[in-house]
């Protein structure tokens, strides 16, 4: 009965690789953030509430479609903004997150642990981020590393549409193709963000994020 549990860890870990792009771990005090990512065989929905400048609580739900059914997984996590650099026209962050939850696969339940690290740096024209995430059921540990770099061809005022070009590469050690490349168009309008794109194999990606 080891296979289904490992399957949950593996597939949930795959989905978590996308999570960094889903939402900011910590926003502003009393801020709410929601996001959703849709791909042909998976959905990831996340919500978060920021308690203070440094701490937020969040929850994540993931659904992964498999050939013989589907996996549902979810967990609660605590996010910490460990360090922020506020420069004149730039911002850099170090976030740590940890949480616990469970997965359901073919009537079998697995308890899951989760941890992540995120480093990012952003100006109004340039954005880069490095993330690493791990999921474990206590015996198996799966991790992903994702690197993003983005460029804004113009700087728009707050009430106008801001566009970004983003390239993402993801390292997945246990996959045959352990490197995945993705190109995305990112659009900001006030407090709503959309991302549209896909990987080099043609797998599409749609994301929406809203802050309140």
């Amino acid at each position: 009965m080891r296979r289904p549990v490992c399957g949950i860890v593996l597939l949930f870990g795959l989905t978590l690789a996308a999570q960094e792009a889903a939402t900011h771990p910590v926003t502003f005090e009393d801020g709410l953030a929601f996001s959703a990512i849709f791909q042909p065989r998976s959905t990831l929905i996340e919500g978060g509430y920021t308690l203070s400048r440094h701490i937020a609580v969040g929850s994540t739900y993931a659904r992964i479609q498999t050939e013989d059914g589907g996996i549902h997984a979810g967990f609660a996590h605590l996010n910490a903004l460990v360090f922020r650099h506020n420069g004149s026209g730039s911002q850099g962050n170090l976030y740590l997150s940890a949480g616990a939850g469970g997965g359901l696969y073919d009537d079998e339940v697995a308890e899951l642990g989760y941890a992540s690290l995120q480093l990012d740096y952003e100006t109004m024209r340039f954005y880069t981020a490095l993330m690493s995430r791990a999921v474990s059921d206590g015996s198996a540990l799966k991790y992903r590393a994702t690197y993003r770099i983005g460029f804004a061809p113009y700087v728009a005022p707050y009430n106008s549409l801001q566009s970004w070009l983003v390239a993402q590469t993801m390292y997945m050690p246990e996959m045959n193709d352990d490197l995945n490349f993705m190109l995305l168009l990112r659009f900001f309008y006030k407090t709503v963000l959309w991302e549209l794109g896909g990987d080099l194999n043609g797998l599409p990606w749609i994301q929406m994020m809203v802050h309140y």
Binding site: R53, F83, H85, N86, G87, Q91, P157, K190
Partner: protein, 119 residues
């Protein structure tokens, strides 16, 4: 000549409301914020400043990294209030310019910012 003065007077009277509207009341304070680089950042700054008692309107110029704060008549905000609001949004204040003081007089709040987030 009297007719000309009369016409000029009427035109000026008619234009007054537009002139006043175009200029509008001056902002209570102009804050330069460090680390504000995207519209999500702007949202947090606006929200925390609008929670302050007496603040009626906040507008942000993202390119200039400046925040204009308008208050109700006779309302008063301290530098500490504004600094705390900006910090709870996750950012730091570079400077505060107040309407009632000379633009050359800069607040010292940037020197009292939280050390953990200062450069």
């Amino acid at each position: 000549m009297n007719c000309f003065k009369l016409i000029v007077g009427v035109v000026v009277m008619l234009m007054c409301p537009f002139i006043v509207y175009a200029n509008g009341p001056a902002p209570y304070a102009t804050i330069t914020v460090k680390g504000m680089v995207c519209s999500f950042c702007v949202q947090g700054v606006e929200k925390k400043l609008m929670e302050l008692k007496g603040v009626e309107k906040v507008t942000v110029n993202l390119k200039k990294k400046t925040v204009l704060v308008w208050t109700a008549k006779n309302a008063s905000l301290s530098d500490l209030d504004m600094r705390n609001a900006i910090q709870s949004a996750g950012y730091n204040i570079e400077s505060i310019l107040r309407q009632e003081t000379s633009p050359k007089v800069r607040s010292s709040v940037d020197r009292t910012a939280s050390p953990i987030f200062s450069r």
